[in-house]
Structures are given as C-alpha cells and as structure tokens.
Amino acid sequence: MQSEMIKRAKELLASGEVARVVGWKAGEFDYDITPGVFTTAEELDSAFLYNDLCEANLSKYMIAQSRKEGKTLVFLKPCDTYSFSQLLKEHRILRENVYVIGVPCDGKVDVDTVKATGLTGICSMTSDGETVTVKTLYGDSTMSKADAMSERCINCKSKKHVVYDELLGEEGDVVADNHRFDMVEKIEAMTPDERFEFWRNELSRCIRCNACRNVCPACSCEKCVFDNEQSGAFNKGASDSFEENMFHIIRAFHVAGRCTDCGECSRVCPQNIPLHLLNRKFIKDINELYGEYQAGENADERAPLNTFTTEDVEPSIVYERGGKQ
C-alpha cells in the first residue's frame, strides 16, 4: 500500500495537480509516527510511510493547508474522513483546494497499548498485519496485532470512507455491531460516588498540556475560549479540581454533536486520560435521546445541538435514569 500511495502522490505532484502531499513520516522513534508535508518526489521516497503504526488523523491539517497556494493531497483513513467531512460541513476546509485519497485501514497498533502489557524499554515496533514484533532493550517479543491495537480500533465504527476523490485499496463497510459504548455503560452503572471517584482519579492527572485540544479536529476554533481573557473561562493551567473538570466538561460540550469519535484526544494524552469516554457519553446520549447520529456521516443533516423536535425529552430525564444510587 505504501508504495502505491507514493506512486500516486508522485504522479499528482508531477502533473501539477497538487502542490503538496500530507501524509505520515517517522518521528523521533520509529514507532512514533508523525504527520508530514511532502513537496517533492525525493521527500516522498525517503520519508513517506504508511503502515500499521500510522495512527494520526490528518484531517485537521487541511484547515490550514487548504488555504495555501495550490491543491493539497491528503491521505485519509476511513475514520479520518468523518472528521474531514464534519470540517467541510462547518466550512473550515476549502474543499476545492484538497485532493483526498482514501486509504484502507484495518486497525492501528498503539504503543501505549503495547506498553500496558508490561513491556518496557521499547526501541522499535513492526507489524506485518498479523503479528507485531516489539524490540526492547531487554529482548524481542511478539504479540498478535489485535492485542496491540488501541480500544478505538478494536471497536472501529466504520471502515467506509465518507468523502474522497479517489480510493486506494478496497472499500469497507460501517461496523454496526461495535462495542464502543461498553465502557460508558459501565461508568453509567456505577454509583455517583464511584463515578466521581473514577473521574477525579482520571482528570486529576491532567497537566493541561492542551494536546487533546490541539489534535482534536473539532477543536479548531480561531481562538479557544480558554485562551481568551475576555471569555470568562480563561485558564492556562488548572489550579484546582474545579478547573480540571471545567476544561474537560466545556471542551466535551463544545464538540458535542460535532465529535466524530476519532479518539485522537485519548491517543495523544500523555497522562493516558480516557478523554474519549466524555465525548462518547454525549454521543451515546444523543443517539439514545434524539436518534442515531454520526457526526461527519451526512453533509446535510443538522447537528443535534443545532436542531430540536417539539417532542424532545425534558432535562428531568436525567433524574429518572442513570446507574445505581
């Protein structure tokens, strides 16, 4: 797949159809793959990568890249196309300046998941699609790819591209029977005290590095309310539990109905806070209360918070349902 992608990218660059290519390249460690911009065939040959470790969602970069001179080629995995489509809906990306090539994805390997199995001193990781080989300071070990994938890929919601100019590889389908809300349900079933304990334990680790915000395709505001001294929510670093809660509640609320559940927030969090569980709670509530809605799936459908029906449930429903007391 990687060579096929490089070939198409070169052709498009050579024909002048696109001025640059957005894809993936190796980061500081070879398992730490990072987004990259390529403008020449040589750069593509030497650095462009596409393998089971290319986790990053490239759609958000198109906000800035689509405003540059000439067209930009971007490679998007199925779940990235949802983010891309949502950004198009919000007029954030200039569609005419982007050439989208959809690439297949059957789940990505995640270093944090591998680390969680107890491996330390990881030097490199490779995957052949079935087995993942991990080289560590203390020797090599192998595991099946499924064991090395993060939760978001195991519970993949769709292998179908919702937007593209051309497709490489085979098109997949929406995965209807994924179990992405299992953990949310588990938390919902807790008592309020347990839930409070759970989230305090998670959110108290937040160091406000803003990685979640920076990576999130829905968090693309020109100026974030937390950076705006006039907004009343201005806050650079949480100085107590309230501000830790505040940042994540407001962030989740601002992306509610817009979040495509790409899971990048949790992936980049250096403190391994399961931030996607906040977004998924909103998605689950929206699905249950206002009908199934997948952000980014449909360009014409109104975002659930920007519409209503006269028969909507009353907020008091919150008192009536919920977990143990």
């Binding site: 405003r67 919000e90 007029h91 954030r92 693309s220 505001c221 020109e222 100026k223 974030c224 309310v225 705006n228 006039q230 907004s231 009343g232 929510a233 601002h254 992306v255 109104r302 975002a303 918070l305 920007n306 519409t307």
Partner: protein, 663 residues
C-alpha cells in the same frame, strides 16, 4: 472604571417595611466604582427621578443602579431619566428588590442581605455595561385582524377609519361571529342583527378593509412593524368574485341533511350553503364533507343552475402571503362541551339545551322562526328551568375555574323575554350568585324578577332526569327555604361556560404570544396595558383575552385599534439594541449560530484578515443584521469560540452577576 450611582427606593413601605433600605444604600457604597449611594421614598416619582438626574450631573455618574421594583415596571422610566441627564439609557440597571425580595420575604435580616446581594450584582453588571444605540426598522402600514366577530369587525373599522389598510381573516364563510347567532342584546334588548349587520356591510364596503373569509392564518414570521403572514384561503369551490349570492344553488342542492351549525345543529342546511341571509361576503360555500360531486363525482347540480358559472369543483386551498405592521387577535370563544355534565342530561334529552341554542329557538331566523317550541316534540313549553354556572367557577376539573361573566345577564334576558312573549310559562332560574356589575345591568335583572315574575332560586340543580311522559324532572335545592325542590320542566336551559376558541392555542404559538392556563391570551399588564400582548406588535381584542360581554368587547376592540393606529402612525420603530454581535477575529465561520437563529438574522461573508505573521488570510465570518435580530442569544451558546456575544447581556456581564451573587 465607571462612576456608579446607587439609588435605593423605599416604594413607600412596599420595600422599606421588609428591607432596611438605608443599610442597602450604605452597603453598596463600598462596591467598586460606586461613588454615590442613597435611598428615597419613591424613586419613580418626579422628585425621585430628579434626584437621579441631579446626582448624575453632580457626581459625573457614568452608570446608574436603581434598587426598586421589577425592571418590567420601571426600567424604561429610569432609562429615560438617565438619558435626559445626558448618559446613555443602557447604562442603567435595576436590582429587583420588591417583587423578588421585599414582597416574598418576611424576615428583615435575610431580605436586606438579599437586597444587598442583588444590588451588588447590578453594580457588577453596570461596571461592564457599554452605551448602546438603538437602530431603527420601518413599519409596514397595514394591520391584520384575526377573527371576524364583533371584536374583529370593530377593530378593523376603527383602524380603517384612521386611514390604514386592514385585513380580516375569518375561518368561517362569513364574518359576524357569535353575535350573528344572538337574538337580542342585554340590557337594552335591541336586536343583535339590527346593530351588527350594518357593521358587517361597512366592512365589506370599506375600501381599506379586505376580508379573507373561510381562511386561516398558516404562518407568522417577523416582528413588530414587519410581520410576514401566510394566510390559507380554504377552497370553498365557489368563485367569490363571480358568485352573486342569489342562492339558487342552495335551493337546488340535493343534499339536504347537513346539520346547520348556524342554528346549532337544530335544523339542516344543504351541502352548498350561505350561512345566513345577511352573510358577508354573501357568497356560497360548498361543504366538501357532504357534497356528492366532491365526494364521488356524481351530481354537479349547483354548477348547472349557477347562472354566472361561479362553481369550481377543482378549486384548491391557496396560500396568500402578506406583510403587516401589527396583528390583532380577535379569535373569540365557544361554549364548552357538556360531556362531563351527565347530571343535566344534555346528551340524553333534546329538551335540555344550551343558552346559545335557546337564542336560536327564539330568533326569527332560527329553526322555529322565533316561536319557542320544544326541540323534541315542537310543543310549547310551560315550565322552563334555567341553570346558571354550568361549568363555570368549577375547580373540580370538569369545567372552568373562572366566571364566564356573561351568563347572569343573558339568562335574565332569556327569562324576561320568555315571560313577556309567553306569560303562561313558569320560569325558574337557579343561581349561585347573580352578578350584574355594568351600566343598567342590575336594574335589568331586578325587572326580570319584579316586573316579569321570573322565579329566581338561590341554589343549584343537582340532576335532571328525563321522564317517560316527556317532561324533565329537575331536582334542585333552594338554599334560602332550605328545601329540596322537584320541578317538572318542559325545557331546561344550561348556561354553559365559555372558553377560548380552540384555534387560539396554535395561533399563540405562531405569534409567540403568551397564554394563561385557560388558553386566554395574556395581556402585557393586567391593569395598564390590557389590550396588548407582551409580544410587541400583537394586540388583543374581545373574549380571546378573557370573558366579556358585547359592550366591553367593542370597547376593547376600539382600544386595540387605537393602539394599532398609534403604531402604524410611526414611520420607523426603534429597535432593541440588545442584539447579538459577532467578533470577526474569533469567528470560525462554522454556521452553528446561523442554524439556531430563529430570525435568519445571521449571514456570512469572506473577509480578508491580517494574520500575526503579517500574511493575510481570507476567512468566512458571521455578521448579524441588527434590525432583524431580536436578541434571544441562542447563537451565543451555539458558538464554541465565544465569538458571538449579546449586547446588554454579554457573557462577561452575566458572569459578573453570577460572581456577585455567589460571593
């Protein structure tokens, strides 16, 4: 930093009795920005306003906080006072320490503490207030009257008299409303048709008035001075312009068994019909539920006989869109359904009738040509029992909690007229109270008792039982003689409560006008603004606002007309300056705000911006049409970046209030 003056009102003892006003004034002196703080007996009085004006000048105040009654009462008063003293009227904030403090708390200590906090919140808000200038919007010089009863007719005539165009929308085929069904009017006993029909004709002939009969309001958009209304003209299958009202079609129509609603279903009409002889417009209407031609394509008799070719079986409902500056609601009433009152045997016996049915039985144009006959056997009734308060003043859930107001008088009228025309009848009226406030009303009622010998009995009827001999056994209590009565009556007349027309509820939603729990429209102020809805540009006429008799309805109709004329006489209206405003530097152009705006006030354009790195970028940004925005603030919450804010109720102002309250 603002220089703020605080003015604490005693409102006589309304505030001062439970709030230590001096302590409030004293406590607020210490708040940031406050340079002057005082209390006074009546801030809204001329002397009080002068105190504010003089203090503004003397201390160079830039902001004013008045701790007084609700801003709904006197915000305008104090804004005007501030303006006349040279500061922007929107630099005034009210702390509501009467309705929301002194009147609801008994304990002086906690009321005073709360008043201080409310004052602090207002001070904190004023700190962040900015002068606002109101825009202007043009006024469409045309009014819409919804409902063509006596209320709508009078309002329309008065507006037209002043030279403005006015349209009447009436859902029935003719204007006239309930008054057309009434025989005589109390207390003068002049004939209703004689005084109403000339007004109906006036409407038809007045070139300023356009009547949309057999039509309904389908949609209302816009705001005061500039409403856009869609009117649905229901298909009547008759060309209104061609029809001469000759009536040949109604004579020839073979469908003869349609219950005649004009006579309360006590006789029949044809499938094509003109409701009554003096209908306006005098145009036939085909009842699609009964017409054979429309139901199964077999007939066409009316079309054959119509000499002018007015019948059009293919006619469709049409939507007309019109612009109006003001809308008057005159949707009127109906008697309630009596299904929940089995004890009076209304559904069991034809001889138990409502008062409106009685009107038709005594009317010369009614089913009996004005001779009072029992509906069951057409015989002359010798004993008639009138029952008052049927479903009125009823808190049990079967009826209405309010007094329907008109029943005492029309029952006295019915009783009196019966005794006059048929002196051989015994007439009983069962009453709980006889309510006759009104000019010559009590005299009228006393005449019924003293001159006409109507038996007024204090007490209620418990049950009415139809008997095999065709009479009705009325069991009632006489509370004054303390006995239970059993009367054999030939006819029982129930004074059913009246309720707002069913169409009013959906109309209120379209107009965003508020209603009370009984579905009567609420007025902007129960005493001082009785003919206006709280929604600007919507006016109320007649029973849609509360039970009324004809003289009251006509007075209110004219009052509503005067208010409309006052509005239409203006060329421009001052807009509310508390509107949304987009900060282009922060706007993402995502369209969330546009999607939630109920007025379509937000538009987008591409603009060039200088970026921090000295490059320029073109960005899509929102802008708000200030004349269209009504200031609800839905957009401010839809906007994730906080680029959208509301002037006068900004994020920072509201948060400053929150902070002051929670401190």
């Amino acid at each position: 930093m603002q220089k703020i003056g605080v003015f604490v009102c005693h409102c006589g003892t309304n505030i001062a009795a439970t709030v230590d006003v001096k302590a409030v004034a004293e406590a607020l002196k210490g708040e940031p920005g406050v340079v002057f703080s005082t209390d006074y007996q009546y801030m809204c009085s001329e002397a009080g306003q002068n105190l504010i004006k003089n203090s503004i000048k003397e201390y160079g105040l830039t902001g004013v906080v008045v701790c007084s009654c609700s801003p709904r009462m006197h915000e305008q008063t104090f804004r005007k006072a501030a303006q006349s003293a040279g500061i922007n009227p929107y630099m005034v904030e009210i702390a509501n320490i009467r309705e929301q403090c002194s009147w609801i708390h008994k304990d002086i200590w906690s009321a005073t503490e709360k008043a201080i906090i409310l004052g602090k919140a207002a001070v904190a808000k004023v700190q962040l207030n900015a002068p606002l200038t109101a825009g202007e919007s043009p006024v469409v010089k045309r009014a819409l009257v919804i409902g063509g009863g006596i209320a709508g007719i009078q309002t329309a005539l008065d507006i037209a008299e002043a030279g403005f165009e006015v349209d009447i929308v009436e859902k029935q085929p003719t204007i006239g409303g309930k008054m057309t069904q009434i025989d005589k009017t109390f207390p003068t006993l002049d004939c209703a048709a004689c005084i109403l029909t000339p007004k109906m004709v006036d409407c038809a002939q007045n070139e300023k008035i356009k009547i949309y009969s057999y039509s309904e309001v389908a949609d209302v958009k816009g705001f005061v001075g500039n409403f856009t209304v869609k009117i649905k003209k229901k298909a009547r299958y008759v060309d209104e312009d061609k029809c001469t009202g000759c009536g040949i079609c109604t004579e020839k129509c073979p469908v003869k068994n349609v219950p005649n609603e004009f006579n309360m279903g006590m006789d029949n009409r044809r499938a094509i019909y003109i409701p009554f002889a003096q209908a306006v417009p005098k145009v036939a209407t085909i009842d699609a539920n009964y017409c054979n031609m429309l139901k199964n394509g077999k007939c066409g008799v009316c079309s054959k006989f119509c000499t002018v070719g007015a019948i059009d079986y293919k006619q469709q409902d049409t939507i007309v869109e019109e612009k109006y500056g003001a809308i008057v609601v005159a949707t009127g009433f109906n008697p309630i359904k009596l299904d929940d009152f089995d004890e009076f045997a209304y559904s069991q016996s034809k001889d138990v009738i409502t008062s409106l049915e009685f009107e038709r039985l005594t009317n010369a144009a009614g089913p009996t040509s004005g001779t009072l006959l029992r509906p069951s056997d057409g015989k002359h009734p010798h004993t008639i029992v009138f029952v008052q308060c049927v479903g009125s003043r009823d808190t049990s859930g079967c009826g209405k909690t309010y007094c329907s107001k008109i029943c005492c008088m029309y029952t006295a009228k019915h009783a009196m007229l019966t005794r006059e025309k048929y002196p051989d009848t015994d007439v009983y009226v069962f009453y709980i109270d006889v309510r006759t406030p009104g000019k010559n009303f009590d005299e009228f009622y006393r005449r019924a008792v003293e001159e006409y010998g109507v038996h007024y009995i204090k007490g209620m009827v418990g049950k009415v039982v139809p008997r095999s001999d065709g009479t009705l056994m009325v069991q009632a209590s006489d509370l004054l003689s303390n006995e239970q009565l059993h009367i054999n009556a030939d006819l029982v007349v129930l004074a059913a409560a009246i309720e707002p027309d069913k169409s009013a509820r959906s109309l209120a939603t379209m107009l965003t006008a508020s209603m009370d729990t009984n579905d009567f429209f609420t007025e902007a102020h129960p005493k001082l603004r009785p003919v206006e809805s709280p929604t600007a540009g919507i006016f109320l006429s007649g029973v849609c606002q509360g039970p009324k008799d004809i003289p009251e309805t006509v007075s209110q109709a004219s009052a509503a007309a005067a208010k409309v004329i006052g509005l239409l006489a203006k060329d421009k209206l001052t807009c509310n300056p508390c509107v949304a405003q987009a900060n282009e530097l922060m706007c993402n152009g995502c369209s969330s705000c546009e999607k939630v705006c109920p007025y379509g006030a937000i538009t987008y354009s591409d603009k060039e911006f200088r970026m921090p790195d000295r490059t320029t970028a073109i960005r899509r940004v929102a802008s708000v049409n200030e004349a269209v925005c009504q200031g609800c603030g839905a957009c401010t919450v839809a906007c994730p970046s906080g680029a959208m804010d509301l002037k006068g109720f900004s994020n920072s102002q509201i948060m400053a209030e929150v902070d002051a309250i929670c401190k």
